[in-house]
Amino acid sequence: MMTEPHIFQAFDRDLEAVQALIMKMGGMVEAAILDAAQALETRDEELAEQVRRNDAAIDALEERIQAEAARLIALRSPTATDLRTVLTVIKIAAALERCGDYAKNLAKRSVVLGQLAQVGDSTGSIRRMANAVELLLKDALDSYIHRDAQLAADVRQRDREVDQMYNALFREFLTHMMEDPRNITACMHLHFIAKNIERMGDHATSIAEQVIYLVTGNLPEEPRPKADMTASSIGMPAQGAD
């Protein structure tokens, strides 16, 4: 990685400023994920409302990052690592923005679920899954700021754990729905939440892949490890159980 400064120092200031925005956005998205999951578990409508309101700020930050990146390209004609930095900034901001939307959606559904009966300990499982994803996202962003391709590769591998948590929840929800059809409404919402958290894991992975591109100049070649089996399973709990 290039650590030496540019001769024209305003270039460094521009690059640092746009990356500081990414870190700020990352912090807001991480907080949104944790808060939304907590609002779901503790049935805290006010916290859920706050997550929904904050998403507008996340979206605004993404727009600002895209504008700053466009400006950098137009005014500084970045090359090599500088160019890859700007390209990754654009992609990471888009990935974070999606994660923010999923957190907002989680918060919305938590308000609905607050009016329905609890389904086992599923909200606890969801919170654990959200915690795992938040950690994944945090490590992906750390790998970005430290230009740590090793940590990024590690994040890519660990997305599998989130996929496995999702598989387990998928089966759990099916079981609850078959046991008692009155659980169906809640379980449908819970399933969307779990799926969205699983997608956040995919976005953390794509951030990690951007870091590998930024550091090495190439995207990772080997296919990403996938453990989400639900797309190809017929989902009967008895058959799906391990």
Partner: protein, 265 residues
């Protein structure tokens, strides 16, 4: 990285026009260029970039033996054009320079008419037998240099009366009038405004259909825009040579990266 511009005109990476092996240049005791190995491809624009004093212009001038005229300058190693050693004692440097033309930083038209500027080369090299043939060469060279429309009604007025950008295109017309195989350009746009620069760049891109063009430039963006291959020189050495897209997005050598991204290196 694949360069989509290759799709326009199929360029064979095997077609080596100029090859240098262990090329060395000394100015007296100063070892200005060391161990340069490079294959310059046919029908390709190759850019030489690097900080001042890095040896890029020195190397460019080796390619048509312009360094011969500098007292105390000595060239070692091997440089071949189509496989033939250009420093061989049997090679006539004047004939060589008809094949390997050159355009300089500052437009330097002869203090003659536009017509005579372009006709000069073909005449001294005996490329035409009649006035009609010379006329034809002049028109064709001026057309290829994108100057014909502006110059056709004033062919007998002095070349020095043209604008800077037109003068540079006149110099290019003069250089291509002898039907060279390689065109060397030493910062051809550094004295020109952006419009004239764009016209020269467009011209370079068109000339690529017929010649190899080797351009020395201090503008990294110009190198990125016009060339398919880029060579980075630093402290008298060729540090990195590769496909231009690769050099500007993912250079392999940290010195190249430092230079092209405007860092201290």
């Amino acid at each position: 990285m694949d360069d989509i511009r290759y799709a326009d005109r199929i360029v064979s990476a095997d077609e080596v026009k100029i090859a240098a092996r262990k090329a060395q240049v000394y100015y007296g005791t100063n070892h200005a260029l060391r161990d340069v190995d490079v294959d310059i491809l046919g029908k390709t624009v190759t850019a030489f970039i690097g900080p001042s004093g890095c040896g890029k212009s020195t190397f460019l001038r080796c390619l048509n033996r312009m360094n011969d005229t500098i007292p105390g300058c000595r060239v070692e190693g091997k440089i071949t054009l189509d496989g033939q050693d250009i420093y061989d004692a049997r090679v006539d440097p004047v004939q060589l320079r008809a094949k390997v033309g050159m355009v300089f930083q500052k437009p330097n038209p002869f203090p003659k008419s536009i017509y005579d500027n372009v006709a000069y080369g073909p005449r001294i090299h005996g490329l035409a037998r009649s006035k009609a043939e010379i006329d034809e060469i002049v028109e064709s060279a001026l057309r290829r240099a994108a100057l014909w429309n502006e110059a056709k009604d004033r062919l007998s007025s002095p070349g020095t009366g043209l604008s800077g950008g037109q003068q540079q295109r006149l110099c290019i017309a003069r250089a291509i009038a002898t039907s060279p195989e390689v065109l060397l350009m030493d910062e051809p746009c550094s004295a020109l405004d952006p419009i004239a620069t764009a016209q020269i760049e467009e011209l370079i891109d068109e000339l690529r259909a017929q010649f190899s063009v080797v351009i020395v430039t201090h503008s990294m963006q110009q190198a990125a825009r016009v060339s398919q291959r880029t060579a980075f020189f630093h402290l008298g050495r060729l540090v990195e040579y590769g496909e231009t897209g690769q050099i500007f997005t993912n250079p392999r050598d940290p010195r190249t990266e430092s230079y092209i991204s405007g860092r201290i290196g």
